[in-house]
């Protein structure tokens, strides 16, 4: 008897696609706002920060869900190096999803800028400004974003490879 379900649980599938949309939107917002002198830049940046905090909370919920639920198995026929590759990209994706909001918040914290979350409450910032700590987390935010974009490209390419070339059930397990 196989203990593994064919699909991810409904809650995990919803989480996956909702967060995929959110994170791609966050990346697009981040890349288009940095350096723009247009009046909407400030509005978009505030939304970016608020939704970024929201992403952080969602990732924690998602990791808890993942620990609790039974997951579909990778196809038995898959070579072991590909299984390893799949597991490591998934771990790295989770790592980056945590690192992005954390580095974003910490750069603002050390720059002494409280974060207005959806005009609802403020997250605290340091009273003393530390420009070197700001620089560290600002760079981390930028380079993590690059790493995340690369991971997403690999991830999407792998999913399409499973579906169209290997013709296995991997993509369908998330549908």
């Amino acid at each position: 008897m196989n203990n593994h379900p064919l699909k991810f649980s409904l809650s995990m599938r919803i989480m996956h696609w909702a967060m995929a949309l959110l994170i791609v939107a966050m990346l697009a917002a981040g890349l288009s706002m940095v350096g723009s002198l247009d009046p909407w830049q400030f509005t978009l940046l505030n939304l970016h920060k608020s939704f970024g905090i929201f992403v952080f909370i969602l990732v924690l919920i998602r990791l808890a869900l993942r620990l609790k639920s039974r997951l579909p198995e990778l196809p038995k026929a898959l070579p072991s190096w590909q299984k390893l590759a799949a597991r490591s990209t998934h771990s790295l994706l989770y790592l980056m999803m945590l690192l992005m909001p954390l580095s974003g918040y910490l750069m603002q914290y050390f720059a002494g800028r409280p974060i207005n979350v959806f005009d609802w409450f403020y997250l605290p910032a340091s009273i003393e400004v530390d420009i070197q700590a700001f620089a560290f987390f600002r760079e981390l935010h930028g380079y993590s974003a690059l790493a995340l974009i690369l991971l997403i490209i690999i991830h999407v390419a792998a999913a399409l490879h499973h579906h169209f070339i290997r013709k296995d059930s991997v993509l369908r397990s998330m549908m």
Binding site: P39, Q41, G112, P114, P124, A125, I131, A135
Partner: protein, 342 residues
């Protein structure tokens, strides 16, 4: 046939190679167009820093001196805003006097603009950053025109003359300029917000305002200084005797006034409210004080104060972020440690 009207399109569908060509052409045009029109923060800060940047320093207003003091609010503004600074009482701040320009060693008295920036860190969730200049208005109304104005200044007197001719909105600025004489002291200048903001009251009503810091005539015959650091030395000498004081005055807009136009002065009869007095009593060299690490981004605002849509105000935030990002990276790489060893 309906198709005949769309013939060119049908043709393109039959000739995929050509449609790819056309598409790339359109994309290229779009790209060219977007870069040609909107100045980016990077371009702006490149222009401000000039050919060789002073590593670790602000790309604008690079030369300055750190200060500390307190604002004594008289409560007169409290009916217009629930911002905590304006309830009756005292709030401490740190800040920075500076001169415009990209050179941290520039001669003080040659700079056309002097500035005062403040940082109120009232609590870990309430911070207000303010950066003010000596002119009461900008010469232009948007960042692209401002970029061209700076280019014209770099090109020389002839270019700037014709720039102003093409920009009649600079009239209020030019009028101010012709009546202004620089003093020998940071403490005797008037500093303006230039951009307008909204005060938000308990009921959520908003009132557009500008503000200025008006020197409280104290020691107007103070000894004048000479040399590259004349303004800083004068300030230090004053502070050793007594605090430097300013009245913090708010100008209330009427509905007719356009709060999104930083080049237009509001009529003189508009209501002015003195919100209290600012008292400055300490200083440090900029690299030894707290002010150097701060980005005085005017869009860091506390609850009770909100930004207008003024395109210049909005543009400042991203430009300051670009300058701050550059100098922060340089500070992380040890820009100042090398300087200290020299």
């Amino acid at each position: 046939m309906i198709f005949s009207r769309f013939k060119p399109f049908v043709y393109l569908f039959r000739q995929p190679r050509h449609s790819v060509g056309l598409l790339s052409f359109i994309l290229l045009m779009a790209l060219f167009n977007s870069t040609a029109q909107a100045v980016t923060a990077r371009q702006f800060v490149d222009l401000q820093q000039g050919d060789s940047a002073f590593k670790g320093y602000r790309r604008a207003h690079a030369k300055g001196i750190c200060i500390q003091g307190a604002f004594h609010s008289n409560g007169n503004l409290a009916e217009y805003t629930f911002a905590r600074v304006f309830s009756k009482g005292t709030s401490e701040f740190n800040g920075r006097f500076s001169i415009a320009g990209n050179n941290p060693y520039a001669p003080d008295l040659k700079a056309p603009v002097r500035s005062l920036a403040l940082n109120f860190a009232m609590s870990s969730t309430q911070v207000w950053r303010i950066a003010m200049n000596t002119p009461p208005v900008m010469a232009v109304t948007n960042p692209t025109d401002f970029y061209q104005q700076l280019q014209a200044i770099k090109q020389g007197p002839q270019a700037i003359k014709s720039f102003f001719k093409q920009h009649p909105e600079s009239q209020d600025f030019l009028n101010w300029k012709s009546g202004y004489t620089a003093t020998n002291s940071f403490a005797e200048e008037t500093y303006h917000s230039i951009n307008a903001f909204y005060l938000i009251d308990q009921q959520g009503q908003r009132q557009a305002v500008r503000w200025y810091f008006k020197p409280v005539s104290g020691d107007t015959k103070h000894q004048a200084f000479e040399g590259d650091n004349a303004l800083q030395q004068e300030l230090i000498s004053r502070l050793s005797a007594a605090p430097v004081r300013f009245d913090w005055v708010f100008i209330l807009a009427q509905p007719k006034d356009d709060e999104n136009n930083p080049a237009k002065r509001w009529p003189a009869e508009r209501k002015h409210i003195v919100a209290g007095q600012v008292e400055i009593n300490q200083w440090q060299e900029q690299l030894k004080g707290a002010c150097h690490s701060i980005n005085f981004d005017p869009l860091v605002l506390p609850p009770g104060i909100e930004p207008t849509q003024d395109p210049i105000l909005r543009a400042r935030s991203a430009a300051y972020a670009e300058s701050y990002h550059r100098r922060a990276k340089e500070a992380l790489k040890g820009a100042f440690e090398e300087a200290d060893n020299e």
